[in-house]
């Protein structure tokens, strides 16, 4: 086989395989979205009849919009905080290479592997000591602890993708640490940082146990509301809530994409 034909075959296979995997990834959505328009009070697929009643119920209950908002209010600071701390940790460990940096990195990664209930019962007394139990900063800190490893691992991977010689060169030329980071390091690891931030936000957005332990009675998050409904019986309202979240995230994603295109055009011209 020549380089060309085998390359073409491989490419066709690759495209088919990729499309199949992407379909697998969105497959549950094909079930969830139709079920959200069900006319029945129980989940069944395909729905026996159609209606908007679950969207209406969701809006009338107005704890759903509020819970959605609460989850965002926790997720965004968690993403920012864990992205900052995780990136710093990755920089320190990957570029630092001093004695003790390797064991330290094991500590950075450890929070991810424990069942969250263990972290929750461990954190609670500490948070109570600081007066943070049941407070908004308390749950943000709790989620940040689990999300730092997500950022750490992705950023560490992008740091290993290029040689530190670039940074040494900049420093030799007299750039201080911040200039080196901002003009040399950050552009190289930008994708890794963004990926880490996304992972952190979505992890926080879906986390139940720590949120249950550390939020105050008034703060219902989306996972908690879904959990409460699931404990009783499953109505299509959970599908409606999910569909709405999907729509909002798609709109945001589209807006960002358009904005980027607009900006890149603007800078080019």
């Amino acid at each position: 086989m020549t380089w060309n034909t085998s390359g073409r075959l491989a490419r066709i296979f690759l495209v088919v395989f990729t499309v199949a995997v992407l379909i697998y990834l969105i497959m549950p959505t094909f079930v969830i979205v139709p079920m959200s328009f069900s006319s029945k009070s129980y989940l069944s697929f395909p729905p026996p009849g159609w209606s908007l009643q679950w969207y209406q119920t969701m809006m009338e209950r107005h704890d759903y919009p509020q819970a959605f908002w609460n989850s965002i209010k926790i997720g965004v600071p968690v993403a920012l905080l864990s992205t900052t701390l995780g990136t710093l940790a990755a920089l320190g460990v990957v570029r630092g290479r001093f004695f003790g940096s390797r064991p330290m990195s094991a500590v950075v990664i450890a929070p991810l592997m424990l069942p969250q209930i263990i972290l929750a019962i461990g954190l609670y007394p500490i948070m109570a000591k600081f007066g943070l139990a049941g407070s908004y900063p308390g749950v943000v800190i709790g989620h940040t602890v689990i999300c730092i490893p997500l950022v750490f691992i992705t950023v560490a991977a992008s740091l290993k993708n290029y040689h530190p010689a670039y940074e040494y060169a900049a420093m030799t030329l007299g750039a201080n640490w911040w200039q080196t980071f901002w003009h040399v390091t950050f552009p190289m690891i930008r994708v890794g940082v963004i990926v880490g931030g996304i992972l952190a936000f979505t992890f926080s957005f879906d986390e139940l146990i720590i949120a249950l332990f550390l939020t105050s009675p008034e703060t219902r998050t989306l996972p908690r509301l879904l959990w409460e409904d699931l404990r009783q019986y499953v109505t299509p309202i959970i599908a409606s809530a999910t569909t709405l979240v999907l729509c909002i995230s798609f709109i945001l994603f589209g807006a960002v994409a358009l904005l980027q295109r607009h900006l890149s055009k603007a800078t080019r011209s």
């Binding site: 026996p48 139990a133 105050s216 019986y233």
Partner: protein
């Protein structure tokens, strides 16, 4: 005590499903406000009581029956907190950071909490203990309702030949099909014993060997569910032909035309329990709240909002005749089942759970 005296109040719960039942709900709410004399000197009146409970449909029913009327009567608002299990109670007590007043927990958890010394005794001088079902009135907690672990089935599978009790479920040859049970020792061991032919009043103390041997008999056709919603979903979708679930989980789907049915024969009665967290500064008002829930008319309102029976038998008089067959504690149903022995589980839970886990993995 970080959460007390906050002004912002979470909005609890929907209003949609309740509208049908408003007629019955109305009767209890009136007339309560005037007739109460409080020993107001003993404790200053808080702005709010924080009640930990499971949320969802249960909370909506509690709100309709008890929370709103309590606020109307006393001016004290009720805040519902997420109930994160005994683990959170233990955390709060160990850290001396109790921000809950009243708990609505699983009746199986209440003796565990009581044995650990986390609960205040109920002040039975505020209500008539004799008016409450004897099983439901304990020294440090009161059951909140009578719910039932029932046998349910898919009517497409057994429509014209409905199963009678758990022994029907163990009749593998007579009734081929998939069976579904809760993947927990708790309640499942009792079901297995009754399925094996043990009389319902002879299941305690649980004969673990016999229960596991009974489970072995249906093992080939057995699937497991983990959450209440899942148990109903399996039966509705025909993933399981017959299995255990709670009556409240299959009631609404059945009304809406899902192909499920259930029986109270050999039902295992379970419940939530009201209790007061030791160390709350609002203990007196928490006692008032619990006494407030034991009013027969309010118990009736609760049972009209969710298909769980009152723990005060006098409440049955306020409930229309067509509702009674749905309630586990109605006169016709209470004799069909047996109460789960929560004290047995509080004492032997760990050992039985471990045996059950080992059996699952074998």
């Amino acid at each position: 005590m970080t959460n007390r005296n906050r002004k912002k109040i979470a909005t609890t719960g929907g209003h949609s499903r309740r509208s049908i039942l408003k007629g019955a709900g109305g009767l209890a709410a009136v007339g309560a406000a005037s007739s109460f004399g409080f020993p107001a000197i003993a404790q200053s009146k808080p702005d709010q009581l924080v009640i930990a409970s499971g949320g969802g449909a249960l909370d909506e029913a509690y709100k309709a029956a008890y929370f709103d009327s309590f606020t109307e009567k006393t001016g004290i608002k009720i805040i519902t907190a997420p109930y994160a299990g005994l683990a959170k109670i233990k955390s709060m007590i160990e850290a001396d950071n109790v921000d809950l007043d009243v708990l609505n927990i699983d009746a199986a958890e209440a003796p565990v909490a009581g044995n650990n010394g986390w609960l205040d005794p109920i002040d039975w001088s505020l209500s008539d203990r004799a008016s409450v079902l004897p099983q439901a009135a304990k020294d440090d907690h009161v059951y909140a309702e009578v719910a039932a672990k029932v046998m349910a089935w898919n009517t497409d599978s057994f429509g014209d030949n409905p199963p009678e009790n758990w022994t029907s479920m163990w009749d593998v040859e007579g009734r081929p099909g998939m069976r579904s049970l809760w993947k927990q020792a708790f309640q499942t061991m009792e079901v297995a014993l009754m399925g094996d032919g043990v009389a319902k009043d002879a299941i305690y103390p649980i004969d673990v060997d016999r229960a596991l041997a009974a489970l072995d008999k249906i093992r080939g056709d057995l699937i497991w569910w983990e959450s209440g919603g899942q148990s109903a979903q399996y039966l509705i979708d025909g993933e399981s032909d017959i299995g255990s679930t709670w009556n409240g989980r299959v009631y609404q789907p059945q009304v809406d035309g899902a192909p499920v049915n259930y029986t109270f024969n050999d039902a295992l009665f379970v419940s939530g329990a009201w209790c007061i967290v030791k160390g709350t500064p609002n203990a007196m008002w928490s006692q008032e709240f619990i006494a407030h829930t034991l009013d027969p008319e309010r118990q009736a309102t609760y049972a009209m909002n969710i298909p769980y029976g009152p723990v005060v038998p006098a409440a049955l008089e306020y409930i229309p005749a067509d509702r009674l067959p749905l309630l586990p504690s109605s006169e016709e149903n209470i004799g069909k089942g047996v109460w789960s022995d929560f004290d047995f589980w509080a004492e032997h839970g760990d050992a039985v759970i471990n045996r059950f886990n080992e059996w699952l993995l074998s």
